[in-house]
């Protein structure tokens, strides 16, 4: 797969994943730019690998971690929930606006690691095996994160429904 092809086929998904992971479209762009610059350097390796999609997501994840480390010297960035929820909402689309609001609000509330698995599973269409490779953890850990994350999402969504009823 060539760089241009990779950007065409996976660029949207990577950008979306990074936006939700970093909580900022601008940061996502910077990191994605870095990912593709790195890809130029390792283009031979990239052409040889079997699963370019998982490889690129893994690369994006590592770059995002580096980016956060450099910027905040290891401190975790905490965005205000409403702001983060808006970023998630702006990066997704769906036929039902109410469902979109509900999902983005709930996604902003769950822990980062669980949200990451859910985002990779639902929006980026990766398998659990691929997510495990991207995150560098066993598949069992990924399925647990998914299960707990989904449970928290459900509770948050139900709580929101009750609040608005």
């Amino acid at each position: 797969m060539k760089i241009e092809e990779a950007l065409d086929s996976l660029g949207d998904k990577l950008y979306n994943y990074l936006t939700i992971k970093l909580g900022s479209p601008q940061d996502a762009e910077d990191v994605l730019q870095e990912v593709f610059c790195r890809l130029i350097r390792y283009k031979l390796r990239f052409r040889l690998i079997r699963n370019p999609s998982a490889y690129l997501f893994q690369m994006a994840r590592n770059e995002a971690a580096d980016f956060l480390r450099k910027r905040k010297r290891g401190q975790k960035i905490r965005y205000p929930e409403e702001e983060f929820s808006k970023v998630i909402k702006d990066s997704l689309k769906g036929p039902d606006q109410k469902a979109l609001d509900k999902a983005s609000e709930a996604l902003a509330k769950i822990p980062d690691k669980q949200r990451e698995v859910i985002v990779l599973k639902f929006f980026e269409q990766l398998t659990f095996e691929e997510i495990a490779r991207v995150c560098g953890v066993p598949m069992g850990t990924i399925t647990s994160r998914y299960r707990y994350g989904m449970e928290k999402l459900r509770k948050t969504m139900e709580g929101r429904d009750e609040k608005y009823e």
């Binding site: 760089i3 950007l7 949207d12």
Partner: protein
């Protein structure tokens, strides 16, 4: 798992928005820029390349000069100029040892050139053809 179905159904309806085209262009532009940078040499490599090139040229030129001098000298020897008697006596043993298994005349010429250069300042020279004959006799044992 059944309880999470509702949340999953909501998430399934959603999909990522496409990346703005200007961001895509910026990323491609930067990537191409990097590609060009990697295609050319970095300043450190450029300096290293330059130094290596100069060294290579020096070696080639000095080799050329040495070779030219040797040729000039050999030509002068071949043209009937003389070789020192001392040189001949001194090197004769070495010569016969060296040539005992070899009938290559270029080795002989090289030997002559080497010894001529070393002893030409003494001024006691002998004709090249004589030297050659003597050496050949020595080699052939006649």
């Amino acid at each position: 798992m059944k309880n999470t179905n509702k949340a999953a159904k909501i998430l399934e309806q959603l999909s990522p928005k496409p990346m703005p085209s200007e961001i895509k262009e910026r990323i491609l532009l930067k990537a191409r820029q990097k590609k060009r940078e990697y295609g050319t040499l970095s300043p450190a490599y450029r300096a290293l390349f330059g130094i290596s090139l100069i060294l290579l040229l020096v070696v080639l030129l000095s080799d050329l000069v040495i070779r030219k001098n040797e040729c000039r000298y050999l030509v002068s020897v071949m043209n009937g100029q003389q070789v020192s008697e001392d040189t001949l006596e001194e090197g004769l043993k070495e010569m016969t040892d060296g040539l005992i298994n070899s009938e290559d005349e270029s080795y002989l010429n090289q030997w002559l050139a080497r010894h001529y250069r070393r002893h030409k300042k003494h001024g006691r020279l002998r004709n090249y053809q004589d030297v050659l004959d003597i050496l050949k006799e020595e080699i052939n044992g006649t």
